[in-house]
Amino acid sequence: MAVLLAIGTRKGLWLARSDDRRSWQLGGPHLQMQEVPSCAIDTRGGRTRLLVGTKSWHWGPGVLHSDDLGRTWSEPEAGAVKFPEDTDAAVKAIWQLKPDTADRPGVVWAGSEPSALWRSADGGETFSLVRGLWEHPHRPTWEPGFGGQAIHTVLPHPADDARVLVAMSTGGVYVTEDGGTSWHPSNTGIKAYFLPDPWPEYGQCVHKVARDPVEPERLFAQNHHGVYRSDDGGKSWTSIADGLPSDFGFPVVVHPAAPNTAWVVPLVADGHRFPPDNALQVWRTADGGESWTSTSDGLPESYFAAVMRDAFTSDDVAETPGLYVGGRDGSVYASPDGGDSWGEVARHLPDVLCVRAASLP
């Protein structure tokens, strides 16, 4: 079984390949000198399509795809993602690319800065703005986080294509139950300690949300301080931070096939953005957040880099999922056994912004 690992950095994309997820062949850079804040490996239908969101500080953003493992890249002449003229808005960057489920072939979602959701029906070649969210009356009051105002999480519901969840920092979680026409905030129980009212309807700084693969109403959220679980599709959230060394961090990742299993990468605090004990740590729960265990054997014990919200991922190997974590120091580590052991994939790359992995069909 060959696994492909896509590594998006500030200066291009690297692709690593492994048959055992311990030794890796690293190739790149592809799309040299372009920032790659988002990427996806779409293996639906027995073919492999790479999707990348690019950002050039000179020439603007783009979404490119490759059907030959990065040898060639394509993008429509007129661009894949652009705001309709009446919006008077321009895409700054694509923060998220999310292929939908296998029974919705061709559907790919994108989240952009400024905060907007996009839907593709042609495998990510062209995207249409989801007007319902763009025209939401709350939108003018969403505030940019330090990195910008963007939709960074898109989670279609696997059993109901009318339901989609998005998240942004800051703004929080929003859901639609009618295919994107109407949206409502879905943040009950998530604390916004940085606001005068710490329990607002929206405005939370949600860093990442992941959906349980077996029970799709179950969600895990890493917040700007706070780790939460929802058992009702996001209607309400409960803290599951007890047992972690810190409730601060950016990514959260779920098991590709087993329920109640998630991983986070804690940082000490908002004002102290290093991992606990200055050692890169990945923590796992296998019981929905009731308890947590460090699964960091082989990760560096002196680590002061940052792990971005999309620079941590699992692959799709159901029995023993691989985990992949990249840092802004250009290092990437992989675990072939759900975090029990880790090894180095790469070092000295440009800042790692996103990683995605999948077994090749």
């Binding site: 050039s56 500080w57 000179h58 020439w59 603007g60 993008e75 002449e77 007129a78 661009g79 652009k82 705001f83 003229e85 008077d88 808005a89 321009a90 895409v91």
Partner: protein, 94 residues
């Protein structure tokens, strides 16, 4: 009227490798109408120079002769037959 557009290395691939485009623009022409014309014939190049709202990208400099169009009224800068327009990425980044 005809205007010569000189492309930077990063955009030449989008013009089939050409360093220079000879663009026929209806007069009286401005940078805006030149870029509109580019957008019709070479959309992949135009959208690298302007975003979808029509604004010149911040780190792209467009010169008429030796003068940056930001000093000539922006996209309203007028063009004459035979003008040479340079598209040059700003010196920036790390």
């Amino acid at each position: 009227m005809k205007v010569t557009v000189r492309l930077p290395g990063a955009l030449r691939e989008l013009a089939g490798g050409a360093q220079v485009l000879e663009v026929e623009v209806a007069g009286p022409a401005t940078i805006r109408t030149l870029l509109d014309t580019l957008g019709a014939g070479w959309p992949a190049i135009e959208r690298r120079i302007r975003d979808e709202t029509g604004v010149l990208r911040r780190h792209v400099n467009v010169f008429v002769g030796e003068t940056n169009v930001r000093d000539l009224g922006g996209q309203d800068a007028s063009l004459a037959d035979g003008d040479e327009v340079h598209v040059i990425p700003a010196v920036s980044g790390g």
